[in-house]
Amino acid sequence: MPSSVLQQAYVLHAKPYREKSLICDLLTELNGRVTVMAHKQKYTNPFQVFTPLQLSLKAGQGDLYFVEQLEQVGESLAIQGERFYSAFYLNELLVKLVKQTFDPENLFHLYQITLNRLNSDEALELILREFEFELLNDLGVLPDFLQTADDGVDIQDDKYYVCLPEQGFVNAYPHARYQYLGQVIKAIAEQNWASDNTLKHAKQLMRQLVQYHLKGQVLKSRELFNPILKKHPSKK
C-alpha cells in the first residue's frame, strides 16, 4: 500500500490516457512496480523514461495509483545508440517479467545502478548479463548452480549439463540443444567473466530462462539492435 512519503521512481513505460494525462508503469523505491495515473505539465511531460523522479503516491482505484506530489525531476540518461536500446531492453524485461516484487528496494537499486553503468564505459554484455542474473534471482527463478536437479549430485567441472527452466541443471542427454560445462556453470554463478566463453554461455542461459518466463511474450527491443549491428559489425 503506497504511503505518501517521498520516494524515488523511474517511469518504465507510459501511454497516453487523455489529452493531458498518462498511465505510467513505475518502478518505485518503496512500492516496487506500480501503475499510476499522472498529469502532464503545461508544455512538457516530466514522466519520461530513464529519468529519476522524486514523488509521492496516493491510493486510487484498485491497482491504479495517483501521483500525489512530483517533487523533483532529475537528469535524463544521456546515452545513445546500442546502450540506449539496452536501457529499453531493461524496461521491457521489468514490465514483462516482474508482476510483483518482494524486495522493491533491491530491485530499484539494481535498476538504478544498471542505468548508471550503461552511462559508463563498462562492457555492455557484462552489464546486461549481471542485470538479467540479478533480476531472475530477485524473481526467485534462478536454477541451483551447485547441484543437479535430477539426482542431487554436486555439479562437476568437467561434465556437461542441460538447464530445464522449471527444475534446474540436469545431466546432459544426447542431442540436447544447449549444453553447459560444469566449470562454466560455476563461473556464471560466481559472475566471474574472465573468459569470453563464460559470457557467451551466460548469454545463452539467461536468454533461455528469460524466454521461458516471458511465456510467449516477444521482446521488441531486440529488434533495435539488428540493423545497426549489421551495418557496423565492428561495434559489436
Binding site: Y17, Y43, Q80, V95, L224
Partner: protein, 202 residues
C-alpha cells in the same frame, strides 16, 4: 428485470467505446444524444466515417494520410527541389510545421516513435522505406523534427545512424526559449540547450 438495451443500441455503445478516453458511461451518453436529438448529425457522422476509412490511405512516399497514391506535397515538384526531408512523428506535426510556412521541402511521417514496450520497432515506423529513399540519393538533407523526449531522441538517433555513410546532411531541430517566454520560468534543461545552441548576432 428487463434488458433496456436493444441489441442495436448495445452495438452502438460498444462501437463508440473505440474512441480514446470514452468508457461505458460516455459512450452511452453519446449514443442517447445521437438517437435523441441529432439523428441528422449521426447520419452525417456515419457517412463521413465510412468514407474516410475507405478513402484515406497512406502516401507511398511519405506515409502521411492521403486520398491519392501520393500526397499533394510529395507530388509537388517545388517541394522536391530543396532536397530537404523533414522527419516527424505524426500527421499533426506536419500540420503544425506547414502552418509556420518556414519549411519548403517534403516530409516523412513515422506515425509513432520507437517504443519497444508498445510493440513499435523500426519496421513499424517505415524506416525500411526511409532507408531505401536515402540510398536512392535524392535526399540532400534530413531534418529530424521528432519531439525532444526520450523516445523522440532515440528515434532521431536511430535515423541518424541509418543515414550515416550516405551522402546526406542530417540535422536536428533546435531547442530553446519559447517566444514570449520568461527565462526564470524555463526549466534548466531547456535553458541549457538554449545556451549550447546560441547564435551570433550578425
Amino acid at each position: 428485470m428487463f434488458n433496456t438495451m436493444t441489441p442495436l443500441l448495445e452495438d452502438l455503445i460498444t462501437a463508440l467505446k473505440v474512441l480514446p478516453g470514452v468508457g461505458q458511461k460516455s459512450a452511452q451518453r453519446m449514443a442517447f444524444n445521437l438517437l435523441d436529438t441529432r439523428r441528422d448529425g449521426a447520419l452525417k457522422l456515419s457517412k463521413a466515417l465510412s468514407e474516410a476509412i475507405d478513402g484515406i490511405k497512406h502516401c507511398v512516399t511519405c506515409r502521411n494520410y492521403s486520398e491519392t497514391e501520393q500526397c499533394e506535397i510529395c507530388q509537388s515538384a517545388k517541394r522536391h527541389e530543396s532536397g530537404q526531408v523533414c522527419v516527424v512523428a505524426s500527421p499533426a506535426d506536419v500540420v503544425a510545421i506547414e502552418q509556420t510556412g518556414h519549411f519548403n521541402g517534403r516530409y516523412f511521417v513515422l506515425m509513432g516513435l520507437l517504443s519497444p514496450l508498445d510493440g513499435i520497432g523500426p519496421n513499424e515506423l517505415g524506416l525500411d522505406l526511409l532507408s531505401t529513399q536515402i540510398s536512392q540519393g535524392d535526399i540532400k538533407e534530413l531534418i529530424l523534427a521528432t519531439n525532444p523526449t526520450v523516445e523522440g531522441e532515440a528515434t532521431a538517433h536511430y535515423i541518424a545512424e541509418l543515414a550515416s555513410g550516405h551522402d546526406v546532411k542530417v540535422s536536428r531541430i533546435a531547442q530553446g526559449v519559447p517566444v514570449g517566454g520568461e527565462l526564470d520560468l524555463i526549466d534548466g534543461k531547456t535553458l541549457g540547450h538554449a545556451f549550447a545552441g546560441r547564435q551570433a548576432i550578425e
